[in-house]
Each structure stands twice: as C-alpha cells, then as structure tokens.
Symmetry: C2
Subunit: 206 residues, 2 copies
Amino acid sequence: MRRVSESAVRRLSLYLRFLEEFEAKGIETVSSEALAARGGTTSAQVRKDLSFFGSFGKRGLGYPVRDLARRLRDILGLKRSYRVVIVGAGKIGSALAQYRGFGQRGFHIAAVYDSDPAKVGLEWDGQVVRDVSHLERDLEREPMDIAIVSTPAGAAQEVTDRLVRAGIKAILNFAPVHLRVPPGVIVRNVNMALELEALSYALRNR
Amino acid sequence: MRRVSESAVRRLSLYLRFLEEFEAKGIETVSSEALAARGGTTSAQVRKDLSFFGSFGKRGLGYPVRDLARRLRDILGLKRSYRVVIVGAGKIGSALAQYRGFGQRGFHIAAVYDSDPAKVGLEWDGQVVRDVSHLERDLEREPMDIAIVSTPAGAAQEVTDRLVRAGIKAILNFAPVHLRVPPGVIVRNVNMALELEALSYALRNR
DNA sequence: GGATGTGAATGTCTTCACAGCT
DNA sequence: AGCTGTGAAGACATTCACATCC
C-alpha cells in the first residue's frame, strides 16, 4: 500500500461519518461529488483519496454506501475497539473523559489518572480518577492501546516517557509542548490555544 | 506580504511559546537550530518560516529572543486581546470556558451560551451561561471577535449562520461537521474523534 | 449517459546547500 | 568561524482532464 498523507486519512474519517449519515437515511449509493460537497472538498480529491486503497465505486453510478463505509472502517482500523487511558484530569481531561463521541467510535476511556490528591478518588461518570503513581503497575495488568495526555505542559514529557516505557504506542497530546518519543510511537497534537492564534493571524491578515 | 501556509502559522505560534520560555530563563539569543529542536522541526524550516516576514536574525549569532518574540506577537496579531464567545455549554464548551490557557494569550471568554434551560443561568467560574436565543441581541451590544462552536453536530450550522449574520468573522469549530460560511469568514476545525481515528489508522498500518 | 479511476500537470511545502553577513 | 537568509531542487499534495467501464 502506498503511503497516504495525514490529511487524506483525516478526510477518510470525514467521509466515513457522512457515509454513516447516508446509511441512516437509507441512501444506497453516493457519488464522489456528493461526498465532496458534504466535506468541503472536491470530487477529484474524494476519488483520489479512495483510490489509494482500491476501487470501490461503479462507474456511471457511484459508491455503495454500506460497503464503502465498511471498507473505510476497516482501513481506519475501526473494526476493533480501543482502550484509552487519559492522564491529567484537569478541565480538558475531564471533558474528554465524559465526551460521548469517543465511545460511539469504539474508543473506550478505560482509566483516568491524575497526580493531584484532591482529584484522585473522584468519580466521574462511572470513572474513578486514579493516582498516577500507579500508572505503570496498572498498565501492566490492564494494557491500553492509546493514551491521551492532558496534563499541564510541565508534566507532559515525564508522563509520556512513563507511558512509552509501559508500552503505549499511540498518544494524543493536549499539552502545549512537543513530546519527544522513540521511533515507532505515534503522537498527534491538539493545541487549542494554537488554533485560536491561527484565527488571530487570519483576522489580522485578512 | 507573501501568502504563508497554515502550517507555517502554527509553527510560528510554537516558536513564540519557546521564545517566551527562553526569555523567562534570561536567554538573549537563540539559533534556528535550538528553536527547531524544541519544536520538532528543522533549522531550515525555522529560518524559512521566519523569512516570510523579514530577517530578524544576525548571521553567525542567531535571533534576539525578546525582539523576535515581540515581532511574532505582532505578526500573529497577539498584541491586542480578543473577545471570545462560546456557543454550546456541553462537556467541551465548559472545559474551554474554564481553560486558563486562553486568557494568558489574550483570548477572553466574554460569554457562554446554551439552548438547554437546565444549563442557562448556571454560573461557571464567574461566567453565567446565557440563553442562546439572546445571541443576536447581545452580540449587537457586546461585539465579539471570535466564536467557538461547541454545540452538538445538529445545531452547529444553524448557530454558525446566526453568528455570521451577527458579524462574527472567525470561528473555531468543535462540532464534528463541516461548516458552510460565506467568503471572508474563517473557520478552523478541531475534531477530537478524528484525531483518535488517525491514531487508529497509524496503529493499524505501522 | 454518467461517474469512476488515474496519469499528467500544476501547485504547494520542505529540504538542501551555499553565498553573504557579523 | 558560525549562523542566517534564500534561490533551487526535491518531495508531496491537489487539481485537471479524459479514457474507461457500468
């Protein structure tokens, strides 16, 4: 399989979402044009993105909604479920822990950690906040697939190092720092202050 | 000024953050190499990014930390402050409303709206949740610079249309839908489920 | 007829490599 | 000598346009 770009993968996720909506409406076939309109891109882009992985459509007709959705779930690795650990039970961590959107996609928040004794033991939505000092011990017994780092900036690298040592291969980082990880560990960053600054830049340079 | 890429702007924000750290440590000069190491990029990239806006460094020496930080703040439009309105007081909206990181950068959450009568009137951190039906009326009296849309997917487009009609020019969208806006209005999307799916893809195709 | 699949062309971003200052 | 600033090269991503197939 050819290497496919970051942004192409994001678009695939979007397409999948739209396909699921179409499926719910009972629509059986969809054109690249229709997917594009929904996702703010072009039909050529849609076709190119999909063509990386095979040819799923019928010429003159379009793509079969149900099949394509299934294929995309497969491509994106969404046929299985994932156990997700959140480290950092601050504002963002707690919002994420309680966010419904993840579960629907097979991402199950299986544990939440914090270092603050005032937070440890609190229960959120059936989820007891655990003491981060037990992180390694717990991960050995209950392996996790993905970690979300939502600690303050200062703690993020140390937490990351511990997660990596405990075998975590994928990290979603909300702390506003660049995490150093060994090869083979994937990090994606979400930095909300950065997004606002990009808006600020755009507003200023309209 | 030449058009500069999305990703370059993001990097500028990162550089600014590092420069501020260096400044706090009393470091006066920094090389592109040092900035690159900190931000997970290359020195050539740093120099190229900065060169879009001028030449701020001294050859053989590096960049003056304080001056460059000031210039970046200027370039990014961070010398002023921004009034931010949040629409949607769910999990994410409330986390954002209470998140400290924004204020430090001059983004002040000036109002929070929701349509749920059970949430309207609640006070968070000095912020009373207002009824979204008053959105237009309020925005006329208290203009806002940036809107954060953190409603459920179904409400996002309608809320966006109302915000745009009320004169909002920049939107940070957390709802998992593509927002249609007229030209001149800037939208940036943060989709956390999408990020997890990108990790899922990466894990599967390691 | 109509929409896909895809090489080729175009456009954009990143990396290279070195001349030019300090 | 050291590090910036920057054209040129290279890599990558998007768009075009059309042959291909249902």
